[in-house]
Structures are given as structure tokens and as C-alpha cells.
């Protein structure tokens, strides 16, 4: 009897609890259906393609597909001494198919990256096949070995074996200036050729310093904007918002004009006697240009979050701090500053995330010593066409950004991003 009284029924006679759950589920589905179009669109055009970058970056199927019989025969080879006849025969028949399709050149280039000399010895082999010098009725091993002495060298066959797996992390190692040594261990590139590590460090350094500069410059003006009366602060806010809304290329162009050797900044330095007319400093196409331009371009992203936090801090708190005996400095440091930390976190993380992936401005004002990792990615996408390497570096950068994004999400919450 007690259970009957507890059971509340709706007018349809369904228990209320079930009916509510049903309604809740319906609402959930409704809400989700509204988000679904964008989510599906993003997954198809954006999230999956980024995932595909991963498969592309580790993809090494080319040789695997080119030499199927060789690798099949190599399964039984221990890799210490010269491979047996079957491997040579397998390689020969694979190679002949490649010659028929005229794709043996690609194999030579790819293997040459693994071990120098493959390009020439595959060409030698090609010539012998074209001249029909190889008799298929007798042992292939002896005949190939006669083509060039390197075909008798076990290291070359070991190199071929290394390309057997359909995927490789070599591109990621290359991005960190490392490579797979012949024995399969990971080795460092010679010290004078470690260009990528320099670029990673420089990217971090520039992003870090730009963030610091933005903070040092953004904090005072955000404070001023938040404490001034509305009618003045609205006017000054335009100084922050106008650059924010102006095309990135326009702002970069104006810095190129300002910083060039005959530019306005140098004119000014000469005028006040800081430098002489014939020793105008080079401020563009180096790190100085990158720092100055990026700081100005990213400054609004620091000011806006700081401002929105400072706006909520009541001025009476500072007065209270002072009335309790604190000097203005103490009151600021002990009362005001701690309250602005959420804004500082938001602004710094945002600026850092944006700075670390910057491309346009460093490419235009950076010169050789001001380029960042993004420029290297673009270079490999457009010039060397090494797309798998570009993908690998892109994903390395992305993983760094995602970690910061995750921290940002934890600390600030993406739904708290303020615009304008």
C-alpha cells in the first residue's frame, strides 16, 4: 500500500518519474539535433582531415607496395648476412614490374634517403634489364651481385628491409633533428645541421617574449580602461578595438613601412640624435621586427580579457585596502593584483596560443632569423612538397597547442572567451 501512495501518476496513467525521464531525453535529443549540423560539418571537413594528417605523416606504404615479393621473401631472412636467392628473385620480379610501369625512379629516390647510393645502383640494374643482360633461367642472385658491388653489400639489403613496415615515425624524428641509425636505434643529426630544434626553440622564445611584452603593455591600459569614467574609456577602447578589427596584412604593411631603414622610426631616431644618419639600424627582417609587429598585433587579445575581469573588481576594495593602512602599492599588490589573475591567465594563454602558430607576420617582417615553425611547415607544403613531413611538424605543433588549450579550458573555460 505504501508503494502505491509513493507512485505519482500523470494524467495518462504513466508514472511521473518515467514521464519526466522521457521528457528529459526528448529535450536532450532536441538540443543535440541543433548542434548536430555544425558538429557533423566540422567532423567531416576539419576534425577527420586533421586525423588524416597523422596517417599521412606516418605513411610509408610506397616501398611496401612496390616490393611485395621481396618483403615476403625477406620474412625468413635473419638480416645478418647477404639474403638468400629467394630474396634476390623476389626483388628482381618486383623491380621488373616497376620498370614496366616506369616507377623504378621513385623507388631509387626513396631508398636513397635510407642509404646513399641506391639511386645509382638501381639505375645500373635498370640498364642491365633494358639490355636484357639478365638471364631469368639461371640464379638471379649471382647476376644482380655482378651489376654493382653495392648489391653485394649487406647494408643495402638491410636498408631495404627497414622500409618494409607500412608506417614509420621517421618524419617525427626528423622534426626533432633525429633519425633512425642503420641498426634501428635513434641517433642525433650532426650539431651544425640541427635546424629544426633551433626553430622550435625560437618559436617558443618568440611566443613567450611576445606574451610577456603584451602583458607588460596590456596590464596598465586595461587597468586605465577599467577605472576611467565610461565616456573616456569608450573613446580609448577604440584604440584597442580598431587594430583588432583591422586586417592583419594592413597592420603588417604599416610595420614594414615604419621599420624599414628609411622608415619613420629610423627617421625619428636620427632626429633625436639616437643614431647617426649613416648607421641606421636594421629593424626589419630580423627578430626585432617580429617582436614589435607581433606584440602590437596581439596586444588587443591581452587587453580584452584583462579588461573584462578588471571591470568586475569594485574600486571600493582598493579604498578598503588603503584605509586599513596599506600604502597604494601594498593595496594594489595584495588586493587588486590577485583578483586580476584569472584575466592574466586568460590573456596570456590566448596570446601565447596565437603567437606560437603565427605565420603571416614572421614571414613578412621576420627575415631569416625571425621565421617560426609555421613558416617551415608552409615551406615544406609549398616548396619541397614533402607533405608527410609538413603534416608531422604540424601535428607536433598542434599537440603543444592542444595542451595549452586544455589548460585554458580548465582555467578559463572556452565559453568564457570574450570578443569585443
Amino acid at each position: 500500500m505504501s508503494s502505491e501512495t509513493k507512485q505519482i501518476l500523470t494524467t495518462d496513467g504513466i508514472p511521473l518519474e518515467i514521464s519526466l525521464k522521457k521528457a528529459e531525453k526528448k529535450n536532450k535529443i532536441k538540443a543535440f539535433l541543433l548542434v548536430a549540423p555544425l558538429l557533423v560539418f566540422l567532423f567531416i571537413t576539419y576534425v577527420f582531415p586533421i586525423g588524416e594528417m597523422f596517417t599521412r605523416s606516418v605513411d610509408d606504404k610506397m616501398v611496401t607496395n612496390m616490393l611485395p615479393k621481396t618483403f615476403k621473401a625477406m620474412e625468413k631472412w635473419d638480416g645478418k648476412e647477404l639474403p638468400p636467392e629467394e630474396v634476390f628473385a623476389g626483388f628482381y620480379s618486383d623491380f621488373k614490374i616497376l620498370v614496366e610501369n616506369q616507377t623504378q625512379g621513385k623507388l631509387g629516390q626513396r631508398l636513397n634517403k635510407e642509404k646513399n647510393g641506391f639511386n645509382s645502383i638501381t639505375k645500373k640494374l635498370l640498364r642491365q634489364i633494358k639490355r636484357k643482360k639478365i638471364d631469368e633461367t639461371i640464379g638471379i642472385k649471382e647476376q644482380i651481385m655482378k651489376v654493382h658491388k653495392n648489391w653485394r653489400n649487406v647494408e643495402y639489403w638491410q636498408a631495404i628491409k627497414r622500409t618494409a613496415p607500412p608506417y614509420t615515425f621517421a618524419k617525427y624524428l626528423k622534426g626533432m633533428d633525429m633519425y633512425f641509425a642503420p641498426d634501428g636505434s635513434i641517433a642525433q643529426v650532426d650539431e651544425d645541421r640541427r635546424i629544426h630544434r633551433i626553430l622550435w626553440l625560437r618559436t617558443l622564445e618568440i611566443a613567450l617574449f611576445v606574451t610577456i611584452f603584451c602583458f607588460l603593455m596590456g596590464y596598465p591600459i586595461a587597468h586605465l580602461l577599467a577605472t576611467l569614467p565610461m565616456k573616456y574609456s569608450n573613446l580609448l577602447m577604440i584604440c584597442v578595438l580598431l587594430p583588432f578589427w583591422t586586417s592583419l596584412l594592413v597592420r603588417t604593411a604599416s610595420w614594414m613601412i615604419l621599420l624599414q631603414q628609411q622608415g619613420v622610426v629610423n627617421d625619428f631616431f636620427v632626429m633625436i640624435g639616437l643614431v647617426s644618419d649613416d648607421s641606421r639600424p636594421e629593424m626589419m627582417y630580423n627578430k626585432v621586427g617580429t617582436y614589435v609587429a607581433m606584440t602590437q598585433i596581439l596586444l588587443p587579445f591581452m587587453v580584452l580579457p584583462l579588461y573584462s575581469v578588471m571591470k568586475t573588481i569594485s574600486p571600493s576594495l582598493m579604498r578598503a585596502g588603503k584605509s586599513l593602512g596599506g600604502t597604494p602599492f601594498v593595496a594594489f599588490w595584495k588586493v587588486y593584483f590577485p583578483l586580476t589573475i584569472p584575466g592574466i591567465g586568460a590573456g596570456c594563454l590566448l596570446v601565447f596560443i596565437l603567437a606560437i602558430g603565427y605565420y603571416i607576420t614572421p614571414a613578412l617582417v621576420g627575415g631569416a632569423s625571425g621565421t617560426l615553425i609555421s613558416n617551415q611547415i608552409a615551406y615544406h607544403m609549398k616548396t619541397t612538397l614533402d607533405w608527410s613531413f609538413a603534416s608531422a611538424m604540424g601535428l607536433m605543433l598542434l599537440s603543444g597547442v592542444l595542451v595549452i588549450y586544455w589548460i585554458y579550458n580548465k582555467l578559463v573555460g572556452v565559453d568564457n572567451i570574450k570578443l569585443g
Partner: protein, 284 residues
């Protein structure tokens, strides 16, 4: 910011240092934009202030580069401007529709996995553009949309929606849901309620999100560089090429036009923001 008369000297000095730092920063922010104006009227071909300009000699100024921008032979700006506007307008419409729908769903308190989905929807804004560019290029090349307007528009919808999602969710956060319930209780169907009640109230947020999406698309160069063929060149792409190859004052004429455009957009966005705050009853 007048100081009270009893302020000690050292705080007085500190105060003036603070004010001068702020002045410097504001100058640093805004001054670079103004160097472009006078130089775009330069009669000469160089990107430095000529002696005549420093003396304010009227002969040193001319509309030469504006003329060049509009009527110049073989000049790319006409096509670029047309493409930029077409792409930006369609990308904005797409972003507004997808972004507003998603924001409506996200603001519902029944939405499951809200945080994670929001993080995914915002990600195109956070992920470095170069990576987005590479990924989108691979996709568009696969489906055969590289070097087409459609491909670039779709790419810009991806980049523009986060802004719409953010602004519309922000507007909806102060939204009084009882008005939609009132409409429903008075017999209005959901579509009608949305068109007559919800949309007019969130319209400022939608439009300002749309403005962001428009500016994003209009200003975007990294992804377009990957996707565009010669036919799809846009204003930023032309500026990029111009800045890399030879700095011609024509670029400054274009830049001046862009600054005027961005000023107009800024004014609109500010007016909308204030209207939105008034509508939502927030007094700051």
C-alpha cells in the same frame, strides 16, 4: 583621474609615469594605422615620406595610387575585391546559420557533453591557421574542391563559426527562457516562437558574430593561399603577394580602404553591443 590634493609626491610621480606608459601604449596601438593614410597619397613611387610631403607641399600629394588601384592595367584588385566579397558574404551566411543553431543547442540546459562539444566547436579558432590550412587543403583536394570558390567558402565557414557560436551563446546566457515558454503556452509553435520571440532578442549577438565571421573571411590569407588558384585570388592574397614581391603604394591605397571598412565595421559592432546590453537589461 585627478589626484586628490593630499597625494604624496612619490605617488604623484608614480601616477604620471603610469599615465605616460598608458599614453605610449595607446600610441603604439593606434599610430601604425595612421602612417598608411598620408603615404597612400604620395605622388612618388617610394614608401617613405618625400621631402615635399614633409613640407606639406600640395604637389607632393596625389590620388595617383587610388587611380592605379581602380583603373590600372592588368591590375588584380577588381577581381580580388569581387572574390573577397562573394566568399565573405556566403561564408558569413553559412557561419551564421550553423553557428546560431549550434549556440541555441548549447545554451539549452539539457545539452549533454556541453564542455567537450563546445571545445570542439571553438577549436578552429585556437588551432594554428597553418595546421587548419594543411588539413582543409588535404580534404578539399580529395573531394575536388581545391581552387574553387565553394572550397574556400566552406573553409571560411569552418573558421567563422566559432565566433558566431561564442557571441550568440554569450547573448543567450542572459536570455530569459520564460518568454519562449510564455509564447508556447499561448499556442505558438517552436518555429514561430523562434522567429517572433527568440531571434529578435538575440539578433544583436547574431549580427555581431556575423561581423566577426565576415572579417575573419575577408582578412583570411593562410588557408586561401593553400586553396586558391589564380581565379580565386582575394584581397589579402594580393596584398600578401604585393608585400612579398614589391611594395607598391597601390597596396597602401587598398590598405586605406580596408581601414575605412574596418572602422565602419567597428562602429556597427559597438552599436550592436550596446543595443544588446540594453535589450538584456545589463547596465555597466
Amino acid at each position: 583621474m585627478a589626484l586628490p590634493s593630499y597625494t604624496e609626491t612619490r605617488y604623484r610621480i608614480w601616477h604620471y609615469i603610469y599615465i605616460s606608459i598608458c599614453t605610449f601604449v595607446f600610441f603604439f596601438l593606434i599610430a601604425p594605422l595612421f602612417v598608411i593614410f598620408p603615404l597612400s597619397f604620395n605622388a612618388e613611387e617610394f614608401l617613405v615620406f618625400s621631402e615635399g610631403m614633409k613640407r606639406l607641399d600640395p604637389d607632393a600629394f596625389s590620388f595617383r595610387w587610388y587611380h592605379e588601384m581602380v583603373y590600372g592595367t592588368k591590375n588584380p584588385w577588381g577581381l580580388a575585391a569581387k572574390n573577397s566579397f562573394i566568399i565573405a558574404i556566403f561564408a558569413t551566411i553559412g557561419s551564421i546559420i550553423l553557428g546560431t543553431l549550434a549556440a541555441l543547442g548549447l545554451s539549452s540546459r539539457h545539452m549533454p557533453y556541453k564542455g567537450m562539444i563546445m571545445a570542439i566547436l571553438i577549436s578552429p579558432m585556437i588551432v594554428p591557421l597553418i595546421i587548419s590550412g594543411v588539413a582543409i587543403f588535404f580534404f578539399m583536394a580529395k573531394v575536388g574542391l581545391a581552387a574553387t570558390h565553394t572550397g574556400i567558402i566552406l573553409a571560411h565557414i569552418i573558421l567563422g563559426t566559432p565566433f558566431v557560436v561564442i557571441t550568440v551563446t554569450a547573448t543567450l546566457s542572459g536570455f530569459d527562457h520564460s518568454v519562449t515558454r510564455a509564447a508556447a503556452s499561448l499556442g505558438s509553435n517552436p518555429v514561430n516562437t523562434f522567429m517572433k520571440i527568440t531571434l529578435p532578442l538575440i539578433l544583436p549577438g547574431v549580427i555581431s558574430g556575423g561581423l566577426f565571421a565576415f572579417v575573419t573571411s575577408f582578412d583570411e590569407v593562410v588557408v586561401v593561399l593553400f586553396l586558391a588558384g589564380l581565379e580565386n585570388t582575394t584581397i589579402p592574397v594580393q596584398m600578401w603577394t604585393g608585400l612579398r614581391e614589391q611594395l607598391s603604394p597601390t597596396i597602401l591605397a587598398v590598405a586605406t580602404c580596408l581601414i575605412i571598412l574596418s572602422t565602419l565595421i567597428l562602429i556597427t559592432a559597438e552599436l550592436l553591443r550596446r543595443r544588446s546590453e540594453r535589450l538584456r537589461g545589463i547596465n555597466r
